[in-house]
Amino acid sequence: MPVATKLDALPSEPGVFDKDEAALREAFLAEVDRIPGGERLRRCIQCGTCTGSCPVSYAMDLMPREVMALFRAGDIESILRSRTIWVCASCYQCTTRCPSKIRVTDLLYALKRVAVDRRIFPRKFPVYVLSEAFVDQVKKYGRNHEMGLLRDYFLKTGPMRLLGRMGMAWALWRKGRLAWRPRRIRGLQELRRMIARAEEFDRPPETEPPARLTAEVGYRAIG
């Protein structure tokens, strides 16, 4: 499937990047440093085992193998604009089978974090909204209140989709599996202090404001 990349526009000298690409690479490589064995990324031999093992590769625009190749070719920005990192189900099949023992799944998580920090997303892609709604739940209660999470997620990405899920909600409610009230942990204040301290460590390397803002949130079926 042809995917728009910057490869044709890259400068002819290897290792020379435009300002945006350089900033994104720096942010990504800082994340890679914090994954044990993350640097094995450079050992990729492009065998394609990751793509072949991935159960959702059919729904991706860039294959996992192509993600490794594009990064090394100097185009991380196109990876962040693709839907690949967001379709990853985190099943770790690629990581288990990679002959170079590259932590593919964890690298995709790192790419997600860079994308979230810089607000670079594909158009009409709500996945990061779910992750951010999850974070809200944890900060509010210390535990994830499933109903609150899904309500917030669907309200922000398309209330009509919530209506479509009423059948599922009803089935769960009938069987006594919906917890209506969230439970707050006693140590919530301490947890919040811990989170605030940890966020200082996770601040992205640059303090420049994000270059792009994606305001479009919605949904388009892909599979």
């Binding site: 379709v87 288990t96 089935a171 917890a179 947890l191 940890a198």
Partner: protein
């Protein structure tokens, strides 16, 4: 033996049957499960997508609380199991990261050596209790029940719940066999169910789950057993729409493996939370007391 018990957010809502059945099973086996006091959310896959240190820190709080109990921590949810173990591995392998995490824990007055083992109940049943003890404790016959054993992803990779081949594990199959039921041949036993994609890209999760259900039907399975509340929810909920699409096949019942173990050990249907499953098991449960011990 006593264990610390980390249910995780799911087991208090959609996965309530897993919580009930694991408690019933451990009680029937004479083992103690003590719920970890004031545990917090492990962060699951979502938090790691946003912040790495924070994700590990909130997970580490649970490890610190568990360390105080001095007991192994049992985490039934595969995602919680993976995240807690992943935090433990990251911290132990990256000294600079460890220092950061420890500083954050100090904000709550907590310390942690990250030595407490985080275990899956399948590991406890297999290695601490032993399948033969479970077989001897059988008081209800499950002969004739054909079971597709679905491990899912996160108890075989990246962290292994039991030391087995992550491509073709057999621990759950062996457990089901020792209960007297018949584990069917189930090739997609470690293939992903889609996980959180059920919320974000339902059509992708549906395609994955459709295959899992079809393959179970191919071998005349009466049910699929799972080890994870996410897999359980996906396999059940994504069959719901199938009914209205007019497909002829009856829905495939999805059970937690601890529900089957509990039933075999004499627990009642209510005790293992069978009433919470969407699709009832179409298998006549024999009364307690009638069992033929084979072999």
């Amino acid at each position: 033996m006593a264990y610390s018990y980390y249910p995780g957010c799911s087991l208090h809502s959609t996965g309530i049957a897993y919580d009930k059945s694991i408690r019933a099973t451990f009680k029937a086996l004479g083992e103690e499960l003590k719920e970890l006091d004031d545990w917090n959310c492990c962060g699951a896959t979502a938090y790691m997508s946003v912040k790495e240190t924070v994700a590990c820190v909130i997970s580490a709080r649970n490890l610190a609380l568990a360390e105080r109990t001095g007991l192994d921590l049992v985490a039934p949810c595969s995602a919680c199991f993976t995240v807690l173990n992943k935090t433990r591995s990251f911290v132990r392998e990256l000294p600079a990261f460890r220092r950061n995490v420890e500083q954050c824990l100090q904000e709550a007055g907590l310390r942690c050596r990250f030595e407490t083992r985080v275990r899956h109940p399948l590991d406890v049943l297999m290695n601490d209790i032993g399948f033969s003890r479970i077989a001897q404790g059988k008081v209800r016959d499950l002969a004739g029940l054909r079971v597709a054993c679905y491990y899912g992803c996160q108890i075989v990779r990246p962290e292994r719940a039991v030391l087995e081949d992550p491509e073709v594990p057999m621990a759950l199959d062996d457990l089901v066999a020792c209960l007297g039921a018949t584990p069917v041949d189930y090739p997609p036993k470690v293939r992903c169910c889609g996980g959180m994609l059920v919320a974000t890209f339902e059509e992708v999760a549906r395609r994955l789950c459709d295959e899992l259900i079809t393959r179970a039907r191919d071998d005349d399975a009466d049910c699929i057993v799972t080890t994870c509340p996410m897999c359980h929810a996906n396999l059940e909920l994504l069959q719901l729409r199938n009914k209205t699409n007019g497909r002829a096949a009856a829905p495939m019942p999805i059970l937690y493996f601890t529900q089957l173990v509990g039933l075999a050990l004499g627990c009642s249907e209510e005790e293992v939370g069978l009433n919470h499953n969407l699709f009832p098991l179409r298998y006549e449960l024999s009364p307690v007391g009638e069992v033929r011990h084979e072999e």
